[in-house]
Symmetry: C2
Subunit: 697 residues, 2 copies
Amino acid sequence: MSHPEATIPVPDLAHGSINKELLAEAQLGKWGDIRKQARAMAAKPELHKAEGATMAEQRARVFEQLGILVEAQSVHRAFPKQFGGEDNHGGNIAAFEELVIADPSLQIKAGVQWGLFGSAVLHLGTQSHHERWLPGIMSLEIPGAFAMTETGHGSDVASIATTATYDVDAQEFVINTPHRAAWKDYLGNAAIHGKAAVLFAQLITKGVNHGVHAFYIDIRDAEGNFLPGIGGEDDGLKGGLNGIDNGRLHFSNVRIPRDHLLNRYGSVDEDGTYSSPIESPGRRFFTMLGTLVQGRVSLDGAAVTASKMGLAIAITYANQRRQFNASSDTHEEVLMDYQRHQRRLIPRLAQAMAAGFAHEVLLEKFDEVFSGAHDTDEDRQDLETLAAALKPLSTWGALDILQECREACGGSGFLGENRMTSLRADLDVYVTFEGDNNVLLQLVAKRLLSDYAAEFRNLDAGVLARFMVRRAESLVINRSGLRQLGQTVIDSGSEKRSANFLKEERSQRELLTLRVQDMIANVADDMRAAAKLPQAEAAAVFNEHQDDLIAAARSHAELLQWEAFTKAISTIDDKTTRQVMTWLRDVFGLTVIEKNLSWYLMNGHLSMQRARTLTPYINRLLTRLRPHLQDIVDSWGFTDDHLRASIASGAEATRQDQAAEYARKMRASADAPIEEKVLLNRRRAERKASEKGTVKA
Amino acid sequence: MSHPEATIPVPDLAHGSINKELLAEAQLGKWGDIRKQARAMAAKPELHKAEGATMAEQRARVFEQLGILVEAQSVHRAFPKQFGGEDNHGGNIAAFEELVIADPSLQIKAGVQWGLFGSAVLHLGTQSHHERWLPGIMSLEIPGAFAMTETGHGSDVASIATTATYDVDAQEFVINTPHRAAWKDYLGNAAIHGKAAVLFAQLITKGVNHGVHAFYIDIRDAEGNFLPGIGGEDDGLKGGLNGIDNGRLHFSNVRIPRDHLLNRYGSVDEDGTYSSPIESPGRRFFTMLGTLVQGRVSLDGAAVTASKMGLAIAITYANQRRQFNASSDTHEEVLMDYQRHQRRLIPRLAQAMAAGFAHEVLLEKFDEVFSGAHDTDEDRQDLETLAAALKPLSTWGALDILQECREACGGSGFLGENRMTSLRADLDVYVTFEGDNNVLLQLVAKRLLSDYAAEFRNLDAGVLARFMVRRAESLVINRSGLRQLGQTVIDSGSEKRSANFLKEERSQRELLTLRVQDMIANVADDMRAAAKLPQAEAAAVFNEHQDDLIAAARSHAELLQWEAFTKAISTIDDKTTRQVMTWLRDVFGLTVIEKNLSWYLMNGHLSMQRARTLTPYINRLLTRLRPHLQDIVDSWGFTDDHLRASIASGAEATRQDQAAEYARKMRASADAPIEEKVLLNRRRAERKASEKGTVKA
């Protein structure tokens, strides 16, 4: 990307510059080559979002673009080799994420077709289903919807109300929508393009409800009309992603053959007998849903990419744009030199980097599980917890980052030509779909609670009692301030020693870890007491901790991001780059601690003195990082074809140069008007001089 | 608004219900009747935003809607009676703000025409200008632009580069755009509809630049073509407000008659002699800009209205929507009963109420100044500082509130039919236009600093020295923890006593005030030391405090909001309503303190014990407020025609009732399928029983 900085003083790089190539490699990760290929694809104008087009135009365009992806063989990596795929799960997601650069609607529409609809057939179906439907799904001959969510139930999938009742005489399932709340809703491809769907419904046979199962169902004929018994509605305009035709579906006595049940985890014999390789209905349900984790994984990655786009635009602009001239009579300040601007953008830059490195950890874990390399129940659970922890932070992060970037560019940030509002609008729904962020974090918290409980499960009562005493003692020590007193004594009034403590990797890790452990332990104590209460009262106790639990899960995710960032730095073989990245990692870790500073103080993990050092120390780190910012965002390798933002194209630098040149000429010119203020001062001085003269005379 | 709560248990109103009518009156304020009239107007479908229309369609529609407003005589209240107005400045803004309910584009386009373009002619021009142009401006015969901002200078208006040079021979001003950065930019009405403009340019006569002045200039002929020497560009698509045709303008030797200078604050004689009623160029500039404060005032009010719309939608939905059933086997929880949901929505409800009451204070102040009732220099300065403090908080608040409301409604919150994403997109630019929020808060901070300095200006050195010693002593006491120790002794381990302290009006006021005073005093100390440094170094010291200063200004604004809320409560003549509003005001004050809790701890204003009580106490307040939420949002008086959100129309309650009725019938039916899990448990129990039987036998 070109970013002429002609009028910007060369930054003082006391420690040299970072190595952009090495930094780029560290971020591209295991599937770097595939990512680069996908980036090249995303640069093609024919795949770009048509800003300002009507909903109908956007939908038509994106559907056509899906065809371009098929032609380019960009979207089949995850499918079996047998059908022309590559059995490459990690690489598939890596490529898929980059589509967000072209158009988030294209990313999500592709996700609906191949990541949800196609994946459900692949992972929930068996060989005959694959043979029958995967080729058509891959080629886009069968556009399909993923009909899980209902108007009445999104987060609580187990409670969906659509039924699939087995009719043993006809050997068919009869699909029914019992009431309005059970209409399928928000389904991509449902409003227009979908010819078929994977439908989730309560499977009922022989009078028993075996819970939610997936069925393959045709929904429209060749002319695009609903098949008999099927109806629907268009969800219409949305806050973004208007290239996708979301819609509603409902079913009245629609019959489908018995073998349309995607039966990897549950089958129904001709006589209606149900069988499953997984005995527990609960575990069976979670196993089925678990196959769909890739949606969360890919949203995590796409959110990071979108965040980086916003930051690349805003930081490039802030390095060229000038406004106000507090420090000089002739030169205006570059925005990036304002402390407030640094405070707005650099911690968010650190956050995007941390989220990016954490995403790579998630993607590798995902690939290990789905390739079968490490595919135990525990691996799958870990993967799901990791995805549930990271996706909320990166998607919320993207909205916050894109918004701050747009505001940091002032009015120009609001223009469509600078892209950020459009990206933000499209990314908005990422925080509530494929798992509502709050619900996901609550899942993570429950997992942390059960891990915490498991630690003690095998201990006898005596050990547990001793542990509880120790915990109580440590609480007393922390809250009495004795521990803080210790820190104060060690630092003995030295700000430098406090700062040294804060920049220690070990200190940051300890502080970030302590928060998760303590918060979970506190809730676990209260929940243990509530375990014997009646259901409603126990639920009330849990509810009283809901906000804390979600905060703990968020802290857990931040710790994971910090660890990933730290690990990634160690792989960079260049001293300056490692140093600069360590500063940035410190900004990440320390701003997370700063955000929760009152908690650290109240729980005795930080002394007042160390706490008071924190913010000034972060501010010093910001000024140290400031000269490296452009190099860091340039390491992401976005071209103008990716960013498509006029203020990041160098136009602002050109305008600043012209204005500076004009001002220089005016100052040098004899004809230039004099400022009234200057004239008044001069006259005042003359008057004084002449009065003096008069007095003297 | 209808909001059937059939399936919701009647809330436990131990203290009765609030009086909605009284609460409504307290919020409608001094211009309540005008507000109600404007609300009725905003309910008309012909004024509503055409969601999903193209930019061209929206622009045409909004322009037509301006005509409807003229016909209805809705927009002329601020103009002189002589021209058919009412000289009613406060009432005019009150009505104008409500237009946001119909369509934010309509509000802002009306604001451009009558609030900026028309106001500039009214307030910066003199009688002959009024007679010549106001009738055409009021009737929309002359649609006009407000040509102040340039691509290169938005926040720093004094540095705009367009010139108006007086040609004494022709008795004309010659308008020039010296370079690309000096193009006028982001101007509503500039892309298509504008026939004229009020143009801001550096006034140069007799070789002296007298600074920025306003000129009336025709820009297009009757056919809509640019006049000779004038050119422009369309700003194109924006992140929102696409009903407004923002654009760019540039000028090459465009000549306008001498009397097109709007000369209330500066005139040029035929011979080119400049004169002004205000001698200081700096004060003159700020006086001219000060006449335009109404833009900020009205954005503050519109942001409050939009926030309340979002909250009315989300809280109504959360009182009807159910998801998950932790506390019962048969009934799902109402969203509003989840702690996390309360935490997300109730503090924001409190914030919107506080911002609303504070807005009324601002509006009354505005009316006093503009009606001439209290119109000293100091009044004008106070008004500007108040507007600069409140507008950032309410506009940022609106974005945050609308976003949280949309997320709290899940996927349905993302649908266009539920309005929130559309409102948020349109409100987005409110945070950076009519004064960038960060720049405005910095202005407030500078005012606070100079007020602080003024307190000591007239004191002799001895008094000042004694004050500094006392300040230093108090810092030592606070930071050493001695003050906190005092609090701990008073509360002597009692959580209740800590909570009692927190809920005291006096405590909240003291804590909120202390923060502003302390932060400003700290910066003032450092700035005093820097006063003797060279310009660049002094600027650097200021820059090192920029983030703190902006934080202090924000705290100042929060204190103003808290005071306004407190004062408004005292006017409500109903005990229960006052009690409930006091809880809500406490939530507002205490969450502000909670947000800055680490600062209170580090600066010794709160003991650890009181701090630890804070969050649990807020959570208790939330559960107390929970039964009153629907009444509070209903007190705003929005009808379905205002909200236009299907999830707030009662549709969700109907769906929940249907689903509950279906579930009830199923439970009562003998044919209903049994759940596999229940069956397994039953079989297990039978097996155990039969094994027992076997053993016994």
